[in-house]
């Protein structure tokens, strides 16, 4: 065995240095997002309206990003919405918890002016389309938490597809 004090002479220059870093943080969702999250625990979507442009944000971060003012009016939104655009995921990746292929879509809830991303189930992947009307399926009441995990997924709600004009502004 090589003596530790002389080992360096044999192994050549250091070319790589791994310096693992780990930090812990608390997260503060803020006043507006806390309301959104608490509403999820009751199985409802709550957004906030801008007093200037009247747009409804869900989830709201507490301000209107267009007007720079506080969004103070709370708006309870529908359980249904429209698929504005989508992606069928066929590629496996680390940490994947859903069986591929699956559908990931932007959903514009009725009464909201921003869409958000959701999982679509109960429809074959080759039938997903823009304008599809969907509804949220929630976990059992006992499992509801102030988290997006309270939404199991969205599924077709049986209504006629929304006309393109109704969501073209949100693409």
């Amino acid at each position: 065995m090589t003596d530790a004090t002389t080992a360096g002479a044999d192994v050549g220059p250091v070319t790589t240095l791994a310096t693992p870093i780990s930090l812990d943080f608390d997260f503060t969702p803020g006043v507006a997002q806390s309301r959104f999250l608490k509403a999820l625990a009751t199985g409802t979507f709550v957004g906030q309206r801008c007093p200037v442009c009247t747009k409804v944000y869900v989830p709201s971060r507490g301000t209107c990003p267009t007007d720079g003012v506080a969004t103070t009016e709370e708006v309870v939104l529908s359980n249904s919405g429209t698929v504005t655009t989508f992606c069928v995921v066929n590629v496996p990746f680390a940490g994947q918890s859903i069986e591929i292929p699956y559908i990931c879509a932007q959903i514009l809830l009725d009464g909201a002016n921003v869409s958000f991303m959701g999982l679509i189930q109960e429809i074959p992947t080759d039938q997903i389309r823009m304008g599809l009307r969907v509804e949220a399926v929630w976990v059992d009441d006992a499992d509801l938490t102030p988290s997006l995990a309270s939404i199991k997924y969205f599924r077709p709600n049986g209504e006629t597809d929304a006309p393109y004009e109704s969501y073209e502004e949100y693409l």
């Binding site: 870093i21 943080f25 503060t28 267009t66 003012v69």
Partner: protein, 358 residues
């Protein structure tokens, strides 16, 4: 080289606002904390977001532990219609420098500068370790209090200051902070009482350390007609400069601050009588180093706001120095003031700004 006299475009600090400085804001997110500050900085002078042509912010994602927090922070301003915007991963004072530079080009007349940071979300002492050189220093995780204690020890060993001097700075700062409604730590405690504090890291006792602070601040800069329209007594930036030293702590003389001295020289600190100085010295002993570097004698009132020992919101404490100094000129309490901001470990990078009343 500093610009020859007469070639610098006059830029004024037209408005200043800061949030209350508190230990932990566990209700509001960054945007919600910033929103009233932005509203106040515009409201002070009766303007709106549409009156500024450029926006520059100072913040760091390392405080929130998530990416692109500076982009989300723009929601507090409402950047529509779109306009030029920039960001520095530094204290807002350095964002102000960028805005000042753009104003020098003469194409715009007003800029909003803001900064925000919540130091309470993680272990600040550990987070600040990540500003060190990533190969030789950061993997050892030397915390900022210990590094600052090494600097204080070097200062004592060089015969430039004593522990009682550190306590003098802390006592005066916290006493002056009693008149600052935004201060976090304000109290009147005598030096001999402070010197009975136990050491946190020798030779630094608790009073020589800054508080951990959540806060935000904003300034509107103006030039041309806007500067005179928005202020009865404009506060002009007569000189501003910033300089940096090597990140190799072992290669620096930690008992002096040549980068501050150089910035002060280029900003023109010595070109006239200085009434007050707002110095960004997070640790008490650093004020002594910085005063010496800027050549500020006993006639100068130091940190009437209480300085960073009274409130140290990361990323904003430097910008607040400029705002505090400008506010005192605007209020007629001073004619000429120096504001200083620092960044990095042990005063690595320093900005000096000279402000003058009309």
């Amino acid at each position: 080289m500093s610009a020859p006299s007469g070639t610098v475009r006059p830029v004024s600090v037209a408005s200043f606002a800061q949030s209350p400085n508190i230990r932990r804001d566990d209700q509001r997110n960054e945007v919600e904390g910033l929103l009233p500050v932005i509203a106040e900085v515009f409201g002070n002078i009766g303007i709106t977001k549409d009156d500024v042509d450029f926006i520059c912010s100072g913040s760091t994602d390392y405080l929130i532990g998530g990416p692109f927090s500076f982009v989300m922070a723009l929601d507090a301003v409402g950047v529509w219609p779109p306009r030029a915007e920039s960001h520095v991963e530094m204290d807002g004072a350095f964002a102000l420098y960028e805005a000042w530079t753009l104003l020098q080009e003469g194409e715009i007349d007003a800029a909003l500068v803001y900064s925000f940071g919540r130091s309470s979300l993680g272990d600040l002492n550990e987070i600040l370790t990540l500003q060190l050189d990533p190969y030789y220093m950061a993997p050892l995780w030397p915390d900022i209090v210990s590094l600052s204690a090494l600097q204080a020890r070097a200062l004592i060993d060089a015969g430039k200051a004593t522990e009682a001097d550190f306590a003098e700075v802390a006592s005066r700062s916290r006493r002056d902070a009693l008149a600052n409604p935004k201060a976090q730590v304000a109290k009147d405690v005598a030096v001999d009482v402070l010197l009975q504090d136990p050491y946190v890291v020798e030779p630094l006792r608790r009073h020589a350390l800054p508080p951990i602070t959540d806060g935000a601040a904003a300034i509107v800069l103006a030039a041309g007609d806007k500067a005179t329209a928005w202020s009865e007594r404009p506060v002009w930036i007569s000189g501003i400069d910033h300089r940096i030293e090597t990140h190799a702590l072992g290669a620096r003389d930690l008992t002096s601050s040549p980068s501050t001295a150089l910035a002060a020289q280029h900003a023109g600190v010595a070109d006239g009588k200085v009434d007050i100085a707002e110095i960004h010295a997070p640790f008490a002993h650093q004020e002594i180093i910085l005063r010496q570097a800027m050549g500020l004698d006993a006639s100068v009132t130091i940190n009437p706001s209480g300085g960073a020992l009274a409130a140290n919101p990361m990323m904003s404490a430097g910008l607040i120095r400029i705002g505090e100094a400008a506010s005192r000129i605007a209020a007629g309490q001073a004619d000429r003031a120096v504001a200083h901001a620092t960044s990095g470990p042990c005063l690595q990078q320093n900005l000096v700004c000279v402000l003058e009343g009309a």
